[in-house]
């Protein structure tokens, strides 16, 4: 009886939805999105080149200050950097991802320098984003559904407090409490870095060692990030909660949990989806302050280093990578949105 009712009432919308899911967004919609993404990227490529050339500085003087470098030598070094701007621009446009663009500071291809830093960043920020999404969405759903009850009050207030906390400050507190140890509590976790010198990180014990090092930074980021997901999820679910279709579902005799899980949450997920994908794009950007507090050698701190000097080829490549990641994540979110919500398919 219950089964029959459910199938009967749901038949019309779910058939539509299924058809939509199979057909997906129109080709025109997809083409438009991809074209827009490419256009944005092209703009970034050009803008990127000129932006960093506005920065003041003299990398050669900075890197050689105080060292007995022959003045003739310095001139020679500088002249390699001071090609005419037009020439540089042409070289750059030929292939923005070229291996020829060398970092001034590291004297290695900029993309190679970046390559060694991607893994720590993704490990740190990626893990934290994933955990924050799962826990945040769960918290948001529960608080919204139990709006005004104690769980909601506690979780909303806590997440608001966490959300307003500067992440470096929270990280520093965790570092002092759990790495230095307070009130006779011993230091449980290391003071920074990704692994203990001499530990083979390709072995299972090495993985544990990396996990041990990443525990505090990942916890910090997760706690800071999750409030964003939970607050948005809570707000959008509360919006959905007054909708008529939920009353219909209840009228069918569905349990509250079923109503929540199969009717309200999927609709309320849309804004959260946008947020998730936007943030996935920012994963490679790193978390500058947390990398700083926990001495993690990621792309965030590389960017800060590159700004000193400035190391223009490196900055340029970093900026290109960050922009490409955000644009790609955005495009993906747009396309997925089109699949999830028929209203945005044109």
């Amino acid at each position: 009886m219950t089964l029959f009712q459910e199938a009967g009432v749901d038949a019309a919308p779910s058939a539509l939805a299924r058809a939509g899911r199979l057909a997906g967004p129109s080709t025109r919609y997809v083409a438009k999105r991809i074209f827009a993404a490419l256009g944005t990227f092209a703009f970034v490529v050009v803008f990127n080149f000129f932006l960093f050339r506005l920065l003041p500085g003299d990398p050669i003087a900075l890197y050689t200050k105080g060292r007995d470098v022959d003045p003739a030598q310095m001139r020679a070094l500088r002249s390699t950097l001071n090609q005419p701007v037009l020439q540089q621009f042409v070289n750059y446009l030929k292939n923005p991802f070229s291996q020829d663009a060398s970092s001034v500071k590291y004297n290695l291809p900029a993309w190679e320098v970046i390559g060694t830093r991607v893994w720590p960043t993704v490990l740190l920020v990626g893990t934290a984003t994933l955990l924050a999404t799962i826990i945040g969405v769960w918290l948001g759903v529960r608080s919204a559904w139990a709006r005004g009850e104690r769980f909601d009050k506690v979780s909303t207030n806590t997440t608001l407090v966490l959300y307003s906390m500067p992440e470096f400050w929270f990280g520093m507190i965790l570092l002092i409490v759990f790495s230095a140890g307070v009130f006779g509590l011993p230091g449980l976790f290391p003071s920074g870095g990704l692994s203990t010198p001499g530990v083979d990180t390709s072995s299972p014990l090495g993985w544990l060692n990396v996990g041990w090092h990443l525990f505090l930074p990942v916890t910090t980021l997760t706690v800071i990030y999750l409030s964003e997901y939970s607050l948005i999820m809570r707000a959008s679910l509360i919006d959905e909660m007054g909708q008529d279709y939920l009353q219909t579902a209840r009228a069918k005799g569905l349990k509250e949990k079923m109503v929540r899980r199969h009717h309200a949450v999927p609709n309320a997920m849309l804004p959260t989806m946008t947020l998730i994908f936007l943030n996935l794009g920012f994963v490679v950007g790193g978390a500058i302050t947390i990398e700083y507090v926990f001495s993690i050698n990621g792309l965030g701190s590389l960017t800060v280093d590159a700004l000193r000097g400035p190391d223009i080829p490196l900055l340029q490549s970093l900026f290109l990578l960050f922009s490409a990641a955000v644009i790609a994540a955005n495009l993906f979110a747009d396309l997925l949105y089109g699949r999830l919500d028929p209203r945005v398919r044109t």
Binding site: G57, R67, D68, L175, P186, L208, E291, S295
Partner: protein, 620 residues
């Protein structure tokens, strides 16, 4: 129903993840506690772990130029001579002795016999000749060593213990050639094209081939560098088995690591971090005298090397009498106390007092005396105007821009004090804090009146003295003004002549006399007013390691020296108390147990929820 069980699995996975983290902490913590314990009683190898905020930029001695990179190079590769730990005089290293020809143009070095590289191959004069010739004849190779080799014609090794270097004109630098001697049998296969991108990092499980006290065993960019003792080192195998450099991005975490014993040495600390280490059991603070000076610099008339004026600096500051008068207005003692927290000393000349042999203590010291400053300003024709600010004869106010560096705490504090001292004698300083990159550009273009900055001075004075020559003022590079070494635009032909003389004077005593004369000249002409010499703040675990060697004696830096003295002599404390380590290990275990319990409780909670949820679904 299916959705439910999927969710339960996700939650269970999260909980399991948390549990894994807890166990991780346990295992890894225990493992690392074992591996980093340097106590000899445990019978394990001794590891000195040094915390630093500087990573090396490259491990290739032809490429790297950061302070940290030079530290690694001198650990790996020998030099002919090394600066002595007591007073920076050249002492024998690879070369036992050296002589110069009567015309000062041929130098003969007697190389120690029977030496070996770390891989067992013989280390002879041939390797030294190879290294010098490679640089002399190379282009890329010259980058780091040009100041030593630009004057060289060729290097020869007629036999395994004799190295002969021919030079173009006499030079005092030949006793202090800081060129790292490389093993020919390794480097000959890396040609000029390959060398610029050569990393010189060891393959896993191996070490680099070197002749210094330590060899690189592993490098993780931005994380750590592991150096292991070289058994073939000519000074005898070092007393610690391994030296690890652990790289921190912030000093607070580094100090914390020192407190809990994760590292044994912390270098170049900020004053506030350094002070936080006072009274920590087992930690010794060491405020080392250092070769860094801080100055108030003037735009003495910005011009290109050709003499063509540039920039918008105030012409008033070309007046030497004005600059000298301002010197009397500066309270250096207060600056040391208030800006450095007492961790430094008052400065006078550009060769820091740490280099006792070369430093000039002026016979006519300019001290803090605002009244005298006022008198001198009055006498020079700068009368106090109606608003309290002095005015020049032509009616121009004595109001100047004073730049400080926004990212440097010492700079930010200094400029505020300087502003106050100048105001007290009727001179207005308009303070502007900008990034050092932006400031460097302003200075190069001559667009400034005064600024605050610092220099770290090498043991050989040549470079520092050359920052005041006419030829080192800014120059034109394809039409645009480019900064050179000079940042005061001081230009004095008499000074330039002395500089030329000191750079070719082979006699030590005669050269010292010239160097002192040049310091006096700068002191009297005041393109800079020196404020203070800054201490290098170091701290180490004296409960674990001993026999650090200061350079210079008795209170110079213990690490990051011009030489590897500490690395060769440092050793574990023999009766190291194991109590602190064992108690912290016990604490670690307790903490981990708590953590695992919490994680386990989380798992139970989620699994129970999962089950009740499943039941609820069934009821539907």
């Amino acid at each position: 129903m299916r959705a439910r069980s999927r969710r339960a699995r996700v939650i269970a996975a999260c909980a399991a993840g948390a549990l894994a983290m807890g166990v991780t902490a346990g295992l890894a913590g225990a493992a690392s506690a074992d591996s980093t314990s340097p106590t000899p009683s445990s019978g394990s190898k001794s590891v000195l772990t040094i915390g630093t905020t500087d990573d090396i930029d490259s491990a290739n001695p032809f490429t790297g130029y950061s302070v940290a990179a030079y530290e690694i190079f001198q650990m790996e590769y020998p030099t002919l001579t090394m600066y002595s730990p007591t007073d920076f005089s050249p002492t024998p290293r690879l070369a036992e002795s050296w002589t110069e020809s009567a015309d000062h143009l041929t130098w003969t070095y007697k190389i120690r016999s029977g030496l070996k590289w770390s891989d067992g191959a013989p280390l002879t004069a041939t390797d030294a000749a190879y290294t010098f010739n490679r640089i002399i004849n190379g282009k890329y190779e010259q980058t780091n060593y040009d100041s030593y080799t630009a004057n060289m014609v060729k290097a020869e090794a007629p036999d395994p213990t004799t190295l002969i270097i021919t030079i173009k004109k006499p030079s005092p630098i030949m006793e202090k050639l800081y060129v790292y001697i490389l093993p020919e049998h390794i480097w000959k296969s890396i040609d000029e094209k390959a060398v610029s991108s050569y990393k010189n990092e060891p393959a896993p499980g191996q070490t680099t081939v070197g002749g210094g006290a330590f060899l690189m065993a592993e490098r993780r960019t931005g994380q750590f560098i592991r150096m292991v003792a070289n058994p073939n080192f000519f000074g005898g195998k070092p007393k610690v088995d391994e030296i690890d450099f652990k790289i921190f991005k912030n000093q607070d975490a580094m100090a914390l690591a020192l407190k809990k014993g994760e590292i044994d040495f912390a270098d170049s600390l900020d004053a506030n971090v350094y002070k936080s280490l006072a009274g920590v059991p087992g930690v010794t603070q060491f405020p080392a005298v250092y070769s860094e000076f801080n100055e108030l610099a003037f735009n003495t008339g910005a011009a290109l090397e050709s003499g063509k004026p540039i920039g918008d600096g105030s012409p008033l500051l070309k007046d030497k009498n004005l600059r000298v008068a301002l010197g009397w207005a500066i309270d250096r003692k207060s600056l040391v106390d208030k800006v450095l927290g007492g961790l430094g000393s008052e400065a006078d000349t550009i060769i820091p007092s740490m280099y006792a042999n070369l430093h000039l203590t002026p016979a006519n010291p300019v001290t803090y005396n605002p009244d005298k400053a006022k008198q001198l300003l009055d006498a020079a024709g700068y009368k106090v105007g109606p608003d309290g600010i002095r005015v020049a004869a032509d009616g121009t106010k004595l109001s100047f821009r004073l730049y400080g560096r926004s990212e440097n705490d010492i700079s930010k504090k200094s400029v505020q004090f300087l502003k106050g001292y100048l105001a007290a004698v009727g001179v207005e300083a308009k303070v502007d804090l900008i990034s050092s990159d932006a400031l460097a550009e302003k200075i190069g273009a001559g667009n400034y009146d005064m600024f605050e900055w610092d220099w770290v001075v090498e043991p050989d004075p040549n470079y520092q003295l050359s920052t005041f020559t006419c030829a080192n003022r800014s120059y034109l590079d394809s039409g645009s003004v480019t900064a050179n070494l000079s940042d005061s635009f001081y230009c004095n032909p008499a000074y330039d002549a002395l500089n030329e003389k000191q750079s070719t004077e082979p006699d030590v005593a005669a050269r010292t006399a010239i160097v002192k004369q040049m310091q006096q000249m700068l002191y009297d002409d005041a393109p800079y007013i020196l404020t203070f010499y800054i201490d290098n703040l170091e701290a180490y675990r004296s409960d674990r390691f001993t026999d650090f060697v200061p350079q210079p004696a008795p209170n110079g830096s213990l690490l990051f020296q011009y030489g590897t003295w500490t690395y060769e002599s440092v050793q574990p404390v023999t009766n190291a108390a194991g109590d602190s380590t064992s108690s912290s290990k016990a604490g670690l275990a307790i903490g981990i147990a708590v953590l695992v319990l919490v994680a386990a409780a989380g798992v139970v909670f989620f699994l129970r929820r999962g089950r009740t949820g499943a039941r609820a679904d069934d009821e539907e």
